[in-house]
């Protein structure tokens, strides 16, 4: 009985390993392909997984260098990929900091203060966050078009405009951080109150330092969300130099101008930092994700 069990266990392990390995391979297939394509000659060529004549052309172009082919023709980079990456990171970081400021203060009030309409505001936040932003872009355009006539640096085609519009992406984060604040021992702020601390001081000197882990989670979640945001950015940013990666990357694959190889290198180059960042912080993220979701 025991022996049979051990054997069947071994078999089951083998099958599981085989299954997981094949799933992994299947899931990784696009990554292998895109890496291979980025070293292939030309923008249309098909070929094997290991390119026959590996070339650094696409990588040079993605990094913003001119590339001289063996026959002497000089190829100029089609798009400023690194600039796009920089735009994405800049907008993502600034907007995420802003989002943190707004969501931590709000979450503190929702967790520790009493005021009228608290519950209904909190509940409506949950419903509001489901509305698809992509459908309100006409309105976004109208708002910033009007704003730009009055304050030129807040108009269409400006990064501050995009950052300000992103500040509204706080609905879920308020819930996540509130959940964390709720779990902080109330005796702490009672003590602070007895010592004469104002709520602001309690927030600034007790809650904020204690909430650092969840702040890191919210920062990462919002950064990843913003770097991926497409609809609003595509409506507000038109100049090639102003684009974020999400908007710019699409330029490579228009039927009239199909730059498959160049896209591959640009995709690997720009996707890598964000992917590494994600893998690095995924341990914290998972906690934050399920906390925010379930504590509702």
């Amino acid at each position: 009985m025991m022996v049979e069990n051990k054997q069947s266990l071994k078999l089951r392990k083998l099958v599981t390993h085989g299954f997981l390995l094949s799933i992994c391979l299947l899931m990784m297939f696009p990554f292998f392909m895109i890496l291979s394509i980025s070293f292939r000659e030309g923008n249309f060529a098909t070929g094997s997984l290991f390119p026959d004549n590996p070339t650094l052309e696409h990588w040079a172009l993605a990094l913003g260098f001119e590339y001289t082919r063996p026959d002497g023709t000089v190829i100029k980079p089609p798009y400023p990929v690194l600039l796009w990456l920089w735009n994405s990171i800049k907008i993502g970081v600034i907007a995420s900091v802003g989002i943190l400021v707004l969501s931590t203060t709000s979450a503190f009030a929702f967790s520790r203060m009493q005021f009228r309409g608290k519950k209904s505001i909190l509940d409506s936040l949950l419903i509001i966050q489901m509305f698809p932003g992509a459908l309100t872009v006409i309105a976004m355009y109208a708002i910033f078009d009007a704003l730009g006539q009055v304050v030129p640096w807040l108009g269409i085609d400006s990064h501050p405009a995009l950052i300000i519009s992103y500040l509204s992406a706080i609905t879920l984060h308020i819930w996540t951080i509130k959940g964390y604040f709720d779990s902080i021992d109330p005796s702490l702020d009672k003590a602070a109150q007895l010592d004469g601390a104002t709520p602001w001081q309690a927030f600034r000197y007790i809650f904020l330092p204690l909430a650092l882990p969840i702040i890191a989670v919210v920062f990462m979640l919002s950064f990843i969300y913003l770097v991926n945001e497409y609809p609003v950015a595509s409506v507000l940013l038109h100049n090639t130099e102003d684009m974020t990666l999400a908007v710019g990357a699409r330029q490579y694959l228009y039927p009239q101008k199909y730059l498959w190889g160049d896209f591959a290198a640009a995709a690997v180059l720009s996707g890598l930092p964000i992917t590494i960042l994600f893998l690095f912080s995924q341990r914290f993220l998972i906690g934050g994700m399920s906390d925010g979701a379930v504590k509702g």
């Binding site: 005021f115 006409i138 509204s168 497409y230």
Partner: protein, 509 residues
């Protein structure tokens, strides 16, 4: 003690100063909005700034200082756009009716006609002056160099010497932009502007405003504004472009309900949207949960590596993965068809066959979404007491029975709100469609462009932004319907979460 008092006074002064600067700049913006012809934005800005000023100056609103900035951002950039979009649904705002009435009227008033017989040929001299030769009874004229023009204005003076040397017509073509910006004042008080490559001519406005909304042309005919359709009509009753947007009541909604060319494809798209959202939810949940259970098996070696590899699809920015798939699935030079044709000798038309395009979308979306469920289910599994499995083992229960009797039910319960959220997210997964198929292949025989892989949202987005019509009014009306549907799903989800919270609350207390 006195130092503290000093500090407090200093703080109060600083705060008052900061607040007044903010108020002043807000008022400045309100005024400018008003001047720019945006009274609605002026009012909105005024209300926001006033509330901010009140909240931050009076102590009794102390609590609201913490939430006002966030709530204001949500109100301005989520709630206001939703309301605005819905209100656009009650207008005929579109590429044809794009402007405001004032702008259209101004446009007509700025239209000019040439005064008959006022044409004068000209030459560009070697010094880039404009020279009008003597013709009939009109004396020869010359201007200063065209680069010296102030605000596009030049003055022509009488010229009695021999004609200066003229440049070839090529020079005129090169300087066309500069010439087009010029107005030349004549000695007799008239003005000339460029008219083609060889002539300057005198112009006068084509229309004069009789009353607001009635424009009289130089030949006596009239344009009358029709505020029902948002166009001027000429004396024959025909409409004259451009138009302005006017309210049309429920017309867009009636169009959606009654026009076969719109309602038929919309029904089809709505159905597909539901199927897509449901299947995406089921596939990602099943695959993710299945893998999470396998990866939870303690006897398995290398679980950490598998987990990291399987998270990768979630870690890579989705706009990149989607575009990668767009290339890989390409009919002619995509690597997927390359492999399929080598192995099986087939080359599926992923982008032109509706069924295959839908299959492709589901494959890609499953790939994108399963790690999310793998991560979440992995967390939920940890919460299942091990005793239950031990008890099941004593009863002789196998792994499959364990999964369906113990694991799945306990994962499912906390997952319900997230499943509904996932449904709502995929219901509006516009970015995936826009980047992968752009809705194509098109459904045949519709009066508005509709694709067989379009979701309601991407269909609306395309009506508004891509295809020729740019019918913002119709898009706004459909958006309103989507908002109502999404709001309904969100509300159902909300009730589920409340119930779940009550249940877990009861269990722990």
């Amino acid at each position: 003690m006195s130092s503290i008092a000093k500090k407090t006074i200093f703080y109060i002064i600083l705060k008052a100063l900061g607040l007044s600067i903010l108020c002043l700049s807000a008022l400045y913006m309100v005024w400018n909005f008003y001047l720019a012809g945006e009274p609605l934005f002026a009012i909105g800005m005024f209300v926001l700034a006033t509330i901010a000023a009140v909240i931050f100056s009076f102590r009794r609103f102390y609590t609201w200082r913490f939430i006002y900035p966030g709530i204001a951002a949500i109100a301005v950039f989520i709630v206001l756009p939703v309301v605005y979009t819905s209100s656009v649904g009650f207008t005929n705002f579109s590429a044809r009716n794009l402007l405001t009435f004032e702008r259209v009227q101004k446009y007509h008033l700025q239209k000019t006609v040439e005064v008959d017989g006022s044409q004068r040929p000209f030459n560009l001299t070697t010094e880039l002056q404009i020279y009008f030769p003597k013709s009939d009874d009109r004396a020869a004229l010359i201007t200063s160099t065209i680069t010296t023009a102030i605000n596009g204005q030049l003055t022509a003076t009488l010229y009695a010497n021999n004609p200066p040397e003229a440049l070839p017509i090529k020079a005129i073509i090169q300087n066309r932009a500069a010439l087009q910006a010029l107005t030349i004042a004549l000695p007799d008080g008239g003005f000339l502007v460029v008219d083609g490559l060889r002539n300057f001519a005198q112009i006068s406005p084509q229309y004069t405003k009789t009353t607001d909304g009635v424009l009289t042309a130089t030949d006596g005919t009239q344009l009358v504004a029709d505020q029902d359709v948002g166009f001027f009509r000429d004396s024959n009753g025909d409409i004259v472009s451009p138009g302005w947007s006017v309210g049309v009541g429920w017309q867009n909604f009636i169009k959606i309900a009654t026009n076969e060319g719109i309602s038929a494809p919309m029904m089809q798209i709505f159905l597909w949207t539901c199927i897509f959202a449901f299947l995406s939810m089921v596939f990602t949940f099943s695959l993710g949960t299945g893998l999470a259970v396998l990866l939870d098996w303690k006897h398995l070696k290398g679980r950490g590596i598998y987990r990291v590899l399987l998270i990768l699809p979630y870690a890579v920015p989705s706009f990149i993965s989607i575009l990668v798939f767009k290339g890989l699935f390409n009919q002619n030079f995509g690597e997927i068809n390359l492999i399929l044709s080598q192995l099986l000798g087939i080359k599926p038309e992923w982008f032109t066959s509706p069924l295959l395009a839908k299959t492709m979308l589901l494959i890609v979306n499953t790939w994108l979404g399963f790690p999310y469920w793998m991560l979440l289910a992995g967390g939920f599994i940890q919460a299942i007491p091990q005793d239950q499995y031990k008890a099941a083992a004593l009863e002789g229960s196998g792994p499959i029975r364990n999964f369906f009797k113990i694991t799945l039910p306990q994962i499912l319960t906390p997952s319900v709100p997230l499943l509904i959220a996932s449904f709502a997210f995929n219901f509006n997964n516009i970015v995936l469609i826009l980047l992968l198929t752009s809705g194509g292949p098109d459904i045949a025989g519709t009066i508005i462009p509709a694709g067989s892989t379009d979701l309601l949202g991407s269909f609306t987005y395309r009506i508004a932004f891509q295809d020729s019509g740019q019918d913002f009014g119709l898009a706004g009306a459909i958006s309103t319907l989507i908002f109502i549907l999404t709001g309904f799903i969100a509300y159902v989800n909300f009730r589920f979460m409340q119930r779940l919270a009550a249940k877990t609350g009861a269990a722990t207390s």
